[in-house]
Subunit: 159 residues, 4 copies
């Protein structure tokens, strides 16, 4: 999942250094730590619901799904642990994901298997904890009815 570690010609690391060296560096807000410049380590998504039906179960792009889009803009790999909360039982997890440095991952909750699958048509919530600062956005594609509907929001940072 992690790409090559040697700096490519147009890498973000290069960009960032040059950018900050000119004008951002001098005017940056002084009250913010380095940590939060790249995101947060704890995120919550209260809404969770994987529709059990889809317009076409054979078309992965249009299958009903729920995703946590994770961005790791740091130069360190992230170990990400997800805990799933339910209405009527104790939480499930942790689900453990590796997210490479300078990488994104659009993680479908549908695909989680270990330690257990997430039941369909069931309300849940998720808590996402990372070893390095990341940014998290929640998206659902619902194709039950049979045309698609979308929702998305930045998750809530708990750091």
């Amino acid at each position: 999942m992690t790409g090559p570690r040697f700096p490519p010609s147009h890498s973000f690391a290069t960009t960032r250094r040059r950018f900050e060296g000119t004008f951002i560096g001098r005017r940056r807000c002084p009250r913010v730590s380095e940590q939060s410049r790249f995101g947060c380590r704890r995120w919550a998504i209260p809404e969770g619901y994987i529709p059990g039906q889809s317009v076409d179960p054979n078309d992965r792009a249009l299958i009903s799904h729920e995703a946590a889009c994770l961005l790791n803009p740091t130069d360190d790999d992230a170990q990400v642990d997800i805990t799933i909360f339910f209405e009527n039982r104790e939480p499930a997890g942790p689900y453990r994901i590796l997210l490479g440095a300078r990488r994104t991952k659009h993680l479908r909750f549908n695909d989680l298997r270990d330690p257990e699958s997430i039941p369909r048509d069931t309300p849940y919530s998720s808590l996402i904890e990372s070893s390095v600062p990341i940014v998290v956005q929640h998206t659902r594609l619902d194709s039950r009815n049979p045309y698609i509907a979308l929702l998305s929001t930045i998750a809530f940072a708990l750091d």
Copy 2:
């Protein structure tokens, strides 16, 4: 609504303790209180509107509805009070909900009855106050037209 209080094998409490004991614990941001690590006690949702029609009034999953998804990641039960604001009258409420420790609840505004039902096809807003830190997300499913549309956003924290 509250699940069993003895720790299950994969409980979030267990997860959290282990996780923090390794790497999160050493690098956690020192400027944040314990309170905000689990959410906030006051939340606002300015948008509120329950469509009066649905594609199929007998299919609860697809009935037009508006929900506040509440996540209580703490180890204490939450008492949640909701106040509803209108355009042309004084607020209604409080609507009182219990939310168990380590539980989520996808609360439909459609289902609120006491002290009064929320009128359909009427703009409203809501203020949500909890006895312990929680996280709140707002979602609407609109199935009037007749295919569904979705919206969602993390509510605004007022703590």
Copy 3:
């Protein structure tokens, strides 16, 4: 726009006093001022676009529109000024709105007339400034195609 000022039996003011007097009052976060407990005075919505067509121009509920949902949870009336930004000209405004104490208003940008209408099918942004703390959510209903789509997000607080 402002309702009666005498306290009704289930008013939010009554609720709030009682609620804080029990358990919220003792555990409330001490680092937050009274101001931000009710919202913020400056809000931005970068996305703005009123579709010029609708599935049925005679059905106000389903006409394509863009709204700023404003919640004033305080006990003071709010004077709200909106400035509209464009891609290729100087901003328009201020558009002046009164929002009563303990009231919501789902303001449609479509309805703004003074000092000028907002052009359809044209990208814009809005800045919302209030005399008292409020909370703002942005919503669009798009019924061009011909089934409806919805988007919504809490606006960005600039206080």
Copy 4:
């Protein structure tokens, strides 16, 4: 892209000065710097995905697209640099955009060409860095199926 710099009759600069001179100026929150009153310099959008199909590829308004809506409410032009992150390769960019003082720009990721186009049907994330404070909102219009779906959220501020 930058409009005329001489103050027009209804400019935001005029509005703002007058507004603050009356009541906002006296009650403004004292703990916030001038910088954050107009937005932030660093924003992240973890979700990114440009659908490769559209209901009508010849209708620009309804073509599937993803946009970053940028609002620059300051009196200085903004130089904006965008970096695109992927799941399996190093980031692309910077993409450089000019955003005039007191202007908005609804930037379609579909239109980015230099240094390279963004591939369709591919998950990505974006990091947006500006020389002055701005506000950023993320929007996608998906018209694959064949009716449209919309999503939107304020991006995550990293300042």
